[in-house]
């Protein structure tokens, strides 16, 4: 089998990889914003609760959570599909990291921005989405893109719960044709080709963001 043939066979699994990525984003993005903002807004006990939830998803090993949810929840009568478990665990894990980018970007803003909003008669939520988030978005985009890449790579873990993604197919192939070096090289190349465009976009945005900062500092 040539490298190309192998890549072609692996690519059959790309729709599963992409599906997990996409559904994962549907968990990650809302989680990142809701919990990042919640952490920014709260104090004391509520903040402690918000932080614990974030830390649970961010700090637990993804593979253990996937196994845990997939193999243990049915014992409690909760049956989630492998796709749901994979997307949710990977998404919330990435979302946990994302929430920290959201919080950090919001907290890096000059508190004078919020005060100016209040002084002009805005309520808190309006200030958040008209004044704080538009400014913070630029700062968190590079992190978001990095996390998107982490998510794409992380989807390879769903192969452990029976989903026939690219990694699953590669594993299956290497059991039939004993050529692991060739097969896993092909797999790496495929993941690289998926992630590299995101890296480039990320770099472009990062450059634009830092240029924007220079302009606003350059009084």
């Amino acid at each position: 089998m040539s490298l190309f043939d192998i890549m072609a066979s692996i690519l059959v699994g790309i729709n599963v990889t992409m599906k997990v990525t996409l559904y994962g984003m549907l968990y990650a993005v809302p989680f990142a914003f809701v919990f990042g903002v919640a952490q920014h807004f709260t104090n004391g006990i509520p903040r402690l609760i918000v932080t614990s939830i974030i830390e649970f998803w961010r700090s637990s090993p993804v593979i253990i959570l996937i196994y845990g949810f997939y193999f243990s929840l049915p014992g409690l009568g909760i049956n989630l599909s492998a796709m749901t478990v994979g997307a949710m665990v990977l998404g919330l894990n990435i979302g946990g990291y994302g929430s920290q980018a959201v919080r950090a970007a919001l907290q890096a803003l000059d508190p004078g921005q919020v005060e100016a909003g209040y002084a002009l008669g805005f309520r808190r939520l309006r200030i958040l989405y008209l004044i704080e988030l538009p400014q913070a978005l630029a700062a968190m985009t590079p992190t978001f893109i990095n996390q998107f890449i982490q998510l794409v790579k992380g989807t390879s873990l769903v192969s452990l719960v029976t989903l026939a993604d690219m990694t699953f197919l590669a594993k299956a192939l290497s059991q039939i044709h004993y050529a692991p070096a060739k097969i896993y090289t092909a797999l790496l190349i495929v993941y690289f080709l998926m992630c590299y465009p995101a890296t480039i976009v990320g770099r472009m945005i990062e450059r634009r963001v830092s240029r924007g900062r220079e302009v606003s500092h350059d009084l």
Binding site: D110, A116, L120
Partner: protein, 248 residues
Amino acid sequence: MQSALPPIAVALSNVSKWYGKFQVLTDINLTVKRGEKIVICGPSGSGKSTMIRCINRLEGHQRGKIVVGDTELTNDLKKVDEVRRDVGMVFQHFNLFPHLTILQNCTLAPIWVRKMSRRDAEEVAMDYLQRVKIPEQAHKYPGQLSGGQQQRVAIARSLCMNPKIMLFDEPTSALDPEMVKEVLDTMVSLASDGMTMLCVTHEMGFAREVADRVIFMDAGQIVETNAPEAFFSTPQHPRSKLFLSQIL
């Protein structure tokens, strides 16, 4: 001056405030009539910012009473909104929104808070940008303007909300010396239009020209209230004297 019973713009009675155990304001009493111009000075840390920030509820007070127009400030958000509708504020560091153009900075609140149409809001904004003498910068971003220009935009942005009272917290102290005059000129012109103004500033020229009263604060208290000329030439309180000898 003209009417026998001038309406009161702002009244603070026995206002006290603490940060934890630290008392920042002690028994502040201050009544500002409509159209009156008050200059507030005093050493750094004496509570000047805190006092004026209580007037638009950027800070809450723990004791005493603050009435703005005919609204008493409490935790009631509706009351706070009412007061903020009538009170504009200009900050030491301008606090313009860097992601919006000058024009958008001026129309954001009129559109979202006052529910004006974009066209009306832009018309009003251009009028005020004309008044602060920078209509040609309307489509630039704050970062492209000088400090003095930014502060004039900040004044225009406030005026677009049609406030009845303006608070200034050291509006010129973050500026390069050559830009102080353009901002003070804008404030003088605002004063001559009859705006009620409370200005924290150490610009004596401005105080002499514009202020009806100078208030001197120290350690969270109003220590002296005087006419500007008298305050600067013959201050009454030893702490005012000491302060003036240090800044002169």
